[in-house]
Structure formats: C-alpha cells, structure tokens
C-alpha cells in the first residue's frame, strides 16, 4: 500500500502537528489501561478472566446504544430519545411474550418499533427542520409516556427461559449479550469505514452543505441514521429486559447520557464528521469501569448521576479543547 493510501486511511482523525498526531489516537486506550490498573488495586481479582468477562457483559447494553448514538453524532445530530425507546421496546416485547406471542415475532415487533421511532426522529429533524435535540427530546417524552401507558404502572417479570437466554446465556464461556454487542459493533464499524454510505455520513457531518452540493443524498442518509439509532436502542432494550428479567417504564433513562458520554469520550465530535466505533467502545468500557469502581468503593447509587455528569462534562471539554489545538 502506498504511503498516500496508508495515510489516506487515517484521514478521519485529526492531523495535528507533530506529537499530537501520535498522542491523539493513543490517548484513549491509554486512559482505559490506566483505569484498569487503578481498579486492580481496588479489586485484586480484576485481571482474572472471570472478571474481565463480567465487565464486558456489564458494558454490553451501553455499547449497543452508544454505537447507534455514534452514528447520529457523526452527522452533528443527537438522539435524546434512546432511553425512552429502550424502555418502550423492552416493555412492548415483554408484554407480547407474556401474552403468548412467540419469542421471535415479539422481538421482531420490538425492533420494528424502535426503528420506526428512529425514523420519526429523522422525519422531524430533516423534513420539519426541528433541531435534533428538540425533536428527540420531545420524542423521548412520548416514548416514556407510551411505555407508561403500556405498563399501567406495573412491572413485568417471569419471562420464559429461552428469552432470558439472550441476556444471561453463554456460548461456551462468552455471554450471549457480549456476542450480540460484538456483532453489532463490528457490523457498524464495517459499515461506517468501508461502505460508501458510511463515508457519506462522515461527509454529511463534517459539512452538510458541501456534501449536499456534492450530490450526497441528505434526506435519505439522515433518515437512515436516526432509524439505525432507534434500531440499536431497541436491541439494547431487549438485551436489558432479558438480562434483568424485568420490564419497567423509565428503565432506560440513565443510558441516554452515558451513550453520549461514551461516544464523545471515544472521539466522536458533537460537531460531526469525526469519530468512530472503536473509540466509542473504549468510551463505553471506561464508563462501565468507572461505575464498577464506584460500586467497589461502596459509593451509594445516588452518586452515579453526579459522576456520570462530571465525566461527560470533562470529556466534552477535552473534545472541544483538543479540537482547538488542531485548528
């Protein structure tokens, strides 16, 4: 591969001068490593296989949602409705199963609903020109409201075993959710980096008007992007319900902010056009480990929103600052 091609592969990472070019891509994996080391002091069993698998399994839901969120953020948009969609889909799917629908069609319905919600988000943003954070914020409340109506204030549990397998089953030693999350992550990564459609997403995010003037189909791409986010939120909701063996309105709430945090910490700029799946996965792992660490330290769950909020503010701050360096 010629030198030009090699560097062409890194074209989507910022090209700061000198050492910043190296620090940039390395910063995040190093941060993750540092965090692991810190946690190994709190938990002597940290680097055992059992624990690693446990951590991976804890991160799956977040990884799946964050992947979809990354795609939206790449277009300089945002999807605040993912938490609501997760809960709604989890509730719907479990309602269907409890009422006798076979598992596969029930899951299909759930996925369809999530994708539809995403599509509606896209319509609001593109066709009606609402700012993404307004449109998806409104849809969040609608999703939450629908979940409330669906559940009538009750909680569902006692779901059949073959459904719960999705959340707690294993394929040899690897938990099923980890496999699902890995499949989703790999598929999206491949899509973004290797397909024309994926590259068009980057172009759209980096400069929407220039992309439009270059003949890229803006409407089609944006509708697709938001639908994908709804789709991954649906998957995450189903995995979550399967893992907890419980469905309840409002259960997806903390994931919205965490998904954004994971994507931003992973290098996706809120201004669009930069970022990718590998970074998001690292971001998700870091967040999972932070929560893990808080639990190990015995901090009450009330502290979580405080820490998550602080983490995301710091992450976005660094994102903005390092972007200024490269200008």
């Amino acid at each position: 591969m010629s030198e030009a091609a090699e560097t062409a592969g890194f074209l989507h990472q910022w090209k700061g001068a000198g050492f910043k070019r190296f620090i940039g891509p390395l910063l995040r994996p190093l941060g993750l490593l540092a965090l692991c080391i810190v946690l190994s002091f709190l938990n002597e069993n940290f680097f055992t296989l059992k624990n690693i698998i446990s951590v991976l399994r804890q991160s799956t839901i977040l990884v799946v949602v964050a992947v979809g969120m990354t795609v939206v953020i790449l277009t300089a948009g945002i999807d605040l409705s993912v938490g609501g969609v997760m809960a709604l889909v989890g509730c719907l799917t479990s309602q269907l199963i409890i009422n006798g629908t076979p598992i596969v069609p029930a899951i299909a319905c759930g996925l369809a609903l999530g994708t539809l919600f995403g599509l509606l988000n896209g319509v609001l943003v593109r066709i009606f020109g609402l700012p993404p954070f307004v449109a998806t914020y409104g849809m969040m409340w609608i999703a939450n409201g629908l979940a409330m109506i669906l559940m009538q204030g009750k909680i569902i549990f006692g779901l059949p075993d073959n459904f719960l397998w999705l959340g707690s089953g294993y394929l040899s030693i690897i938990p099923i959710p980890v496999i699902l999350a890995a499949v989703v992550a790999v598929a999206f990564h491949f899509y973004l980096k290797k397909t024309v459609s994926g590259q068009e997403i980057y172009a759209l995010g980096a400069n929407r008007e220039a992309a439009r003037y270059s003949g890229i189909k803006i409407t089609k791409t944006l509708l697709l992007v938001y639908s994908l986010s709804g789709f991954t939120a649906a998957i995450a909701g189903i995995i979550m319900t399967a893992r907890l063996d419980a469905a309840q309105e409002g259960m997806g709430e903390p994931f919205m902010l965490q998904a954004i945090a994971a994507a931003v910490m992973g290098g996706s700029s809120l201004m669009g056009g930069e970022g990718g799946i590998p970074g998001t996965i690292i971001g998700a792992l870091i967040l999972t480990l932070v929560v893990n660490g808080l639990n190990l330290m015995g901090a009450p769950s009330m502290v979580h929103p405080l820490v998550t909020g602080a983490v995301i503010l710091t992450a976005v701050f660094f994102d903005v600052v390092t972007r200024k360096w490269s200008d």
Partner: protein
C-alpha cells in the same frame, strides 16, 4: 431595487387557535374546568412554569438551550429546605435557594461561553451532576418545611390576586422591560445567530451569554421556591419534566431557534396553553400516565403545525 418594504402579515399565532379549540373541547368533556376556583388554580399552577419558561426563552433566543432548568428548580427547593431546616430565617432560606440556582446557571453560562461546550450537552451534564448533588445532600429524601410564610407565598392574595400569579407577572414585567430597554436584552437578541456584527461593535458577548444563563438559573430558582412553598418541602425531583414544558411553552408561543424570532411576550401564550392543557386533562380525569404522551404529542404537533403554516405562507424556505 427600489426602497420597497416587504409587507409583513401580522398573523395571529396558531397558539391562540389551539387554546380556543381546547376551551371548546373542555366545555364538553371537562365541565368542571370553567369554575372560578379551577381557573385560579390554573393560574397558580402556571405561575412557576411561566417564570421557568421566561428563563428558557431568553436562553433559546441566544440559540442555546437549558436542559437543566427542571432539576435546578428542584435543587433550589432542596437548598431552601435544607437552610430552613438548619434554622435560617425563612426569607433568607428562600434567597439562599434562589442564589444557589443562580450559581448553577452561572456555571452553565461559563461552560457555554468560555469553554465553548455545546449548550445542550453542558446543561444536560449539569443536570446529571446536580441530580446527584441533590440526592446526596438530602439522602434521597424529601425535606419538609413548616412556616406560616409559606402559606402566604403560596396562597396569599394581596389585591385579590393570588401571590404566585402576582410574582410571576411581576417577573414577566421586569424581564420584558429588560429585553426591550436595556443592553442586556439587545445582546440576547443579537447573540442568537452568533452575531459577528455585535462582537465587532465591542459588546462583550461572553459576559452577555454568561449573564443570560445566570438569569435563567435565578428564574428557575424563583420557580423552585414557588413550588417548594406550595408543597412545603424540597426534593430534587420537584421540577422533573418541567424543562420540557418550559421549552415547549417557549416554542409554541412563537420563539424559535431561528434568529431573533419571538420573545418573552410570546412565551406567556405558550404557558397558558400548556397549563390549560394539563389542567383540563386533570379535570377530565385523564390519568397522569397518559398525560405525558399526550402533551408530548400535542406540543410536537403544534410545532409542526406552526412550521407548516409558515412554509405554506412562503415565509420560510423549505428545502
């Protein structure tokens, strides 16, 4: 080209039509709606929302957004309740709560204006941090406050008008004055759209932006005190979901994220709509859980309706 001035068609905001439609609906389905007691009730319920929405409006005019105002509202109540619990005089406790909210707004403003964080993420992150802080400081419990002053603030009726409504209208008047007659107001209108012209004219845009968010915080604090007086307690979730109502009221009222459109005067219409909507649903016996979805739909519907009307009348370019 001649000095031709485009005709400005003064249109009645669609909001008014919707409110009228609701009135008609309610006369059939919610007969209790039109009683004097209920109408005062609406006013009292709407008062904190109006104060909050005014804060949301000025932030939105600068092309920003404050997604933390609902939490800050609750936080002010928490601060107030904690101070009262510790024995501070009740007025001081109220002031403390309001100032606490102002500090939160200040932090938001600094993040947006100095650190250049996008407003929605800055305020979202802030909301999360304050939620945690609010939970931790109260250990998740609601703190009760007992004092006769609260009765006056929430129920007193000097001049025959209930206190909360008076306070809200007073604040509305003050902010309206600021917007029209001071540099602060002009800066807010010019900030929207990132006005290079204003920056080049020497105005300190950073300070203006920080001031905007700080004022929004203070207003959320006042709203929080109003709510806390009514419930005689402070809990961080007191304002949960109110940010949606505040933003919705602003946008329905006619302020949009488009440059310079709208203002505080329009927001009062949006607040009326939301308050009427919620109250009517309550009186008609619609259970709480349906209200969220319903109101969300109505609000999005109103926004879309407004956009469509503007597009069809040629005032806005469709893509």
């Amino acid at each position: 080209m001649k000095n031709k001035v485009q005709l400005r068609v003064v249109s009645i905001p669609p909001v008014i039509w919707i409110v009228l439609a609701l009135f008609v609906l309610y006369s059939f389905f919610a007969p209790g709606f039109f009683s004097a007691g209920n109408l005062w009730n609406i006013g009292v319920q709407a008062a904190p929302l109006l104060v909050l929405a005014i804060g949301a409006t000025i932030v939105i005019l600068t092309e920003g957004i404050d997604l933390s105002c609902g939490i800050v509202l609750g936080f002010a109540g928490v601060g107030f309740a904690l101070l009262a619990q510790r024995g501070f005089p009740i007025w001081l406790a109220m002031l403390g709560g309001i100032l606490l909210a102002g500090v939160c707004g200040l932090v938001n403003g600094v993040m947006v204006a100095c650190l250049h964080l996008p407003p929605f993420i800055a305020t979202l992150g802030m909301a999360s941090v304050i939620t945690g802080a609010g939970l931790v400081s109260t250990e998740g419990m609601s703190i009760a406050v007992r004092d006769d002053v609260l009765e006056f603030v929430s129920n007193g009726a000097p001049l025959g008008i209930k206190m909360p409504i008076l306070i809200a209208l007073l604040i509305f008047g003050v902010v309206l004055f600021l917007m029209r007659f001071t540099a602060f107001g002009r800066n807010i209108y010019a900030l929207g759209g990132n006005s290079e012209a204003l920056r080049l004219s020497g105005a300190n845009l950073t300070a203006a932006q920080i001031a905007t968010y700080t004022v929004a915080g203070l207003l959320a604090g006042i709203a929080g005190i109003l709510v806390a007086s009514r419930t005689a307690s402070g809990h961080i979730t007191a304002g949960l979901g109110w940010d949606f109502d505040a933003i919705a009221a602003t946008i329905i009222g006619g302020t949009s994220f488009e440059e310079g459109k709208g203002g505080v005067a329009y927001t009062i219409l949006g607040v009326v709509l939301i308050a009427v909507l919620r109250n009517g649903l309550n009186v008609a016996g619609v259970p709480n859980m349906y209200q969220f979805a319903l109101i969300g739909t109505v609000v999005l519907g109103a926004i879309i309706f407004d956009i469509l009307v503007r597009r069809l009348s040629g005032a806005e370019e469709s893509r």
